[in-house]
């Protein structure tokens, strides 16, 4: 038997004097090589243009395991027939003489062929039978053709299966030569040492194929966008707040923000409360007293909410529902340390006990910015928001009046989306209420302008993700992490 090189030489030599090889399978048989081996050679020669190979498909039939056994031992119905003695036999005895599968298939078949009868002994109804099935199976093995009806019957009995033969028809290719020298794919150290690189023929490079993927790690797409937002805040002179405290008291999360204790956001179906640690024990007591007073009776020019404020409600621990809980701690601290103008920002997790769906998770990242200074105006807020959002590429903004318990005025921020051709809400903003700031001890001419948005929403828009769980959490596709682009918001 020849090897691949021998087959290649024989094939090219054959084409030198013949126009075509019509069937590579027959050619392989004549050569005495395995067709699989020849096929490899054909593909390689075709790739280099030595030959032109076209697919030839042929369907034929092949015996199954079962069919193969019958072609040797005879069909089960004939085996059963042969096992029945002239005087008849009990069914049990007959079964004992034969294989289980032979008996169960063969007996049924022999009965339906009316070869046997039971009365009640099993006995022959005809004298002699011919094993047609066995003959048919042997014919198929020899490559003979059978009628469609016979093929169908054998197929139904799962004795034969179709087999696809793939072969090639071959003519000379554009680069045909009676022999070929192997082309090189790489420049090797050996070629440089022996200086053979100029004599070697190189295989043409397939520029259509992708290169080899790079190795190395990848950063998470959501955090790449977080990095961009952090940079924008830092460039704009904002100082980051320490937000690494997910567990917060209702006091700092709600009461300090002048959010009344009956507010729906404080319901158990909006907020996660904690069983352990269930409550906060220590507060700045004098400040807590001022907060209680502003809720119950008002003060600093406010009439308050006029209800019985309960310390137990304020003590209840929650998973913070917004990073503004941290802002309230920071502003209180600023009032105690002595006021200086500040710009603060944070980007961190917040928690909502809401139903989870394609756009809502129980936790997400809130981006928050605030400026605390004397003499701030709504015009300043609008100006800062324009600066901030234009750095994200949103240059056209407008503002809608809204309601929020701790900001007044409150403005929803809309940006004109050029592709969607409409105004899209991109965040919320406002001036913190005096009822929040003055009990902290901040000077009464200090105001705070603030805004917030989620990190997930702009990221989903940026990367074209429509299910938040594909972005954040364990169901993320690692391929997404590896293949997402750099964050060029606003570039």
């Amino acid at each position: 038997m020849r090897d691949a090189d021998g087959a290649e030489r024989a094939l090219l030599a054959f084409l030198e004097s013949n126009a075509e090889i019509s069937n590579s399978e027959a050619f392989a048989r004549d050569l005495g090589v395995d067709h699989e081996l020849l096929a490899g050679t054909i593909k390689s020669l075709h790739g280099f243009g030595f030959i032109e190979a076209k697919d030839v498909r042929r369907e034929s039939w092949e015996l199954t395991e079962e069919g193969l056994v019958y072609s040797r031992n005879g069909s089960p119905e004939v085996q059963v027939f042969d096992a029945v003695p002239a005087g008849g036999i009990s069914r049990e005895d007959l079964q004992r003489k034969l294989d289980d599968s032979v008996f169960s298939i063969g007996f049924r078949k022999a009965m339906s062929n009316k070869w046997l009868e039971t009365k009640p002994l099993v006995s022959r109804k005809v004298l002699k039978v011919e094993d047609v099935v066995k003959q048919q199976l042997l014919d198929i093995k020899d490559g003979k053709n059978l009628s469609a009806a016979d093929i169908d019957a054998l197929k139904k009995r799962k004795l034969i299966v179709p087999k696809v033969w793939k072969a090639y028809s071959i003519t000379k290719g554009a680069n045909y030569a009676p022999t070929r020298t192997k082309a090189a794919t790489e420049v090797t150290r050996e070629m440089l040492l022996k200086e053979t690189w100029s004599e070697v023929a190189f295989k043409p490079y397939n520029f259509q194929a992708l290169g080899q993927p790079t190795e190395g790690g990848h950063l998470h797409p959501l955090l790449k966008v977080r990095t961009k937002f952090r940079q924008i805040f830092l460039e704009m002179g904002f100082e980051e707040m320490p937000t690494n405290n997910f567990v917060e008291s209702s006091f700092w999360n709600f009461d300090a923000l002048f959010q009344p204790q009956q507010h729906p956001a404080r319901d158990s179906h909006d907020t996660f409360f904690l069983k352990s640690p269930c409550k906060t024990q220590t507060f700045p007591e004098d400040y807590l007293e001022r907060v209680k007073t502003i809720h119950e009776q008002g003060g600093f020019g406010s009439i308050g909410y006029m209800y019985d404020w309960k310390r137990e409600e304020a003590e209840k621990n929650v998973l913070r529902t917004h990073t503004t809980a941290v802002s309230s701690r920071m502003l209180y601290k600023l009032a105690q340390d002595g006021f200086v103008p500040k710009r603060y920002f944070s980007i961190d997790r917040v928690f909502r006990n809401e139903a989870v769906d394609r756009t809502h998770l129980a936790e997400f990242h809130q981006i928050e910015g605030l400026i605390c200074d004397k003499g701030l105006t709504l015009g300043d807020l609008i100006g800062v928001l324009n600066d901030f959002f234009s750095r994200l590429g949103m240059k056209k903004l407008r503002f809608k009046p809204a309601y929020n318990p701790y900001t007044e005025p409150s403005m929803e921020i809309f940006s004109y989306h050029e592709q969607l051709n409409k105004w899209v809400e991109v965040g919320n903003s406002g001036m913190f209420r005096p009822e929040m700031l003055l009990p902290m001890g901040l000077p009464d001419d200090v105001s705070v302008i603030a805004w917030g948005l989620s990190l997930e929403r702009p990221t989903m828009i940026l990367y074209g993700i429509d299910n938040i769980r594909d972005l954040f959490g364990h169901k993320v596709d690692l391929k997404l992490i590896k293949s997402n682009p750099i964050c060029r918001l606003g570039m």
Binding site: F246, F273, Q281, L361, A362, S410
Partner: protein, 586 residues
């Protein structure tokens, strides 16, 4: 935010012109309400019955669904929205709500019994005389009560409204609290008499009413209102009596609001009468009721008096950032239903109508000036003070480490803080000793029971969902876990952790060990500055795990994940893992 349905035709009639949808949308935007949806009555019914959209008729009446701010109770009905829009567009002047002038002797009384104090201590009442209902007004009257119940009344816990046909009743009325078995009446929409006790049982299967039963269920006495003939008006906050039910033909309506919060009861009553006194023979006139408390003090309701608030003009100008004149401010406020006049000392005096309970502080007046002026007409400015940008050292440090981990060939994952108890403990071969983890008391599902105490459950869940990803897989996360900490005011604290996992056909323990060495290298900890020693963590494989010691204390551990843990998370391939605290290295 609450949503109110208003017929488009009614809006156009009330506003005196036809608006295209875009124009109306724009008008809403400017004053801070939102056109949320456009539909038809029949489409709403079809939706409820899950019928096909294509059965729509051409001539169906178009309904605008309008979202209103949660603190503007006066916008919870079409009457209120139209009135605000008309006043904003200067089609209508601000109405003056007033009490009818009656001699004290002819004012009806509501006498409050002391027993009510234990269950629902407050009641306020008012009468709408000579009201004319039609189908739309009647429906709106009912809808407004529903919306108030849903919003400010906090599902009837704080306030419950009852409305009655006054002509079927005989004053004076008494507000009492009695044992449930002693209260007996025919409730609304029923034909037979029930005791209050039987009713509580009966309504357990009523989809709408069963959610209010808890408000009084466990009390030994139930609140109840009687007239002088011992006719039951209502069993608040559950149901009214059938006897005094109102209908389209009712001319005189008694409104009672029982409450646990008197301030909110007054707001609710004022909202009801302000919205519907417009349909009375004497427009915007309301007949008062004297409420006599258990010690005999008499208070007349509703209180429709105007509240006044003095506001510095300079405060408004400085806050909005526009140099407005006093006259301009007065004019702008009139568009927002606030009457005001200039007074001495660079101030204006603002009269706040009973409908504007949302005005608590001069900042609310300032906002109305800004809204009426138009947020989008305010010129952009920049705050003058400059400040320095600064990062939190821990976050800056974490970001630098994240880059190093990525450069070391690991890809970043980002998992939830909330996990199930099973994931945080049992599946990691760990037991909850109640000493380390913060536990959520009201999770919607078991997925959010506990705050993770390590980054491991999240990372293993990632691997569970990454069976098809070609091996080796290398992932990392630098994030916070939460641990109980009695030294903190809230009793718990975040701790920033670094975790990395290697997963392939072989465990790759030496790869994770190498990563530890690399981390220490970039942290500038010399090779003799940290040690590893044997450990016995249940989530790691025995003999293939170690603790990491730095300056004498343990900062983390690494090893091969225990095969049982891998099986628990349905991970088919071996994994090695490292997790350490990083704040120690800051």
């Amino acid at each position: 935010m609450p949503t109110v349905s208003v017929a488009r035709e009614l809006l156009h009639t009330m506003l005196g012109r036809v608006y295209t949808q875009e124009e109306f949308d724009e008008l809403c935007f400017v004053i801070g309400i939102e056109l949320d949806d456009v539909t038809t009555e029949k489409a709403i019914i079809r939706k409820e019955k899950h019928l096909q959209e294509n059965e729509a008729d051409e001539d169906e009446e178009v309904i605008y669904k309008i979202e209103v701010p949660a603190n503007r109770y006066d916008l919870l009905c079409p009457e209120g929205i139209c009135r605000q829009l008309r006043i904003f567009l200067r089609v209508e002047k601000m109405p003056t709500y007033r009490l009818s002038r009656l001699p004290d002797s002819s004012i009806l009384k509501m006498i409050v019994k002391p027993e009510t104090a234990v269950i629902r201590p407050f009641v306020v009442c008012a009468i709408l005389r000579g009201i004319t209902f039609d189908q739309a007004r009647y429906a709106s009257f009912i809808d407004l009560q529903d919306r108030l119940h849903q919003n400010i009344c906090r599902k009837r816990t704080l306030v419950a409204i009852g409305t009655h046909d006054l002509d079927t009743l005989q004053g004076p009325f008494t507000y009492e609290a009695l044992p449930p078995s002693e209260i007996k009446f025919i409730p609304l929409k029923q034909a037979q008499e029930f005791t209050a006790k039987e009713l509580m049982e009966f309504y357990k299967s009523d989809l709408k009413l069963k959610k209010f039963l808890h408000i009084i269920e466990d009390s030994p006495v139930f609140p109840v209102i009687y007239d002088s003939n011992r006719t039951v008006l209502s069993l608040p906050p559950i149901i009214n009596g059938a006897h005094s039910a109102i209908s389209l033909n009712t001319k005189n309506v008694l409104i009672e609001c029982t409450a646990t919060d008197l301030t909110k009861a007054k707001i609710v009553l004022n909202t009801m009468v302000a919205m519907f006194s417009g349909y009375c023979d004497e427009k915007f006139e309301v007949e008062p009721v004297d409420v006599v408390d258990p010690v005999g003090r008499v208070t007349r309701y509703p209180d429709l008096s105007l509240r006044t608030m003095d506001v510095d003009l300079s405060y408004i100008k400085k806050s909005v950032g526009v140099p407005l004149q006093a006259g301009e401010i007065v004019d702008l406020l009139s568009k927002m239903q606030l009457t005001s006049k200039e007074i001495d000392g660079d101030k204006i005096q603002v009269s706040i109508p009973p409908t504007r309970s949302d005005i608590l502080h001069p900042c609310d007046v300032m906002e109305d000036v800004a809204v009426a002026y138009g947020f989008n007409n305010i010129p952009k400015t920049r705050p003058k003070t400059s400040t320095e940008g600064r990062q939190q050292p821990l976050n800056e440090f974490s970001d630098l480490l994240r880059l190093e981990l990525a450069m070391a060939g690991f890809s970043e994952v980002l998992n939830w803080v909330l996990v199930s108890k099973k994931e945080n403990f049992t599946l990691l071969n760990r037991k909850d000793d109640d000493k380390i983890a913060a536990i959520v008391s009201n999770p919607r599902s078991s997925d959010f029971e506990v705050l993770r105490t390590s980054l491991l459950p999240g990372i293993l869940k990632v691997m569970e969902h990454s069976k098809d990803v070609p091996r080796p897989v290398k992932v990392f996360e630098i994030s916070d876990v939460v641990l109980l900490d009695p030294s903190k005011d809230v009793g718990a604290a975040n701790s920033r952790h670094l975790a990395a996992l290697y997963c392939s056909t072989t465990s790759g323990f030496e790869i994770i060990h190498g990563l530890l060495d690399r981390i220490m290298n970039v942290l500038n900890v010399p090779v003799d500055g940290y040690t590893v020693g044997p450990s016995n963590e249940p989530e790691l494989f025995k003999g293939r795990q170690a603790k990491i010691f730095y300056k004498g204390s343990c900062v983390g551990s690494f090893g091969i994940i225990h095969p049982q843990v891998l099986k628990n998370f349905d991970i088919p391939d071996p994994c090695s893992y490292i997790e350490m605290e990083i704040e120690r290295f800051l």
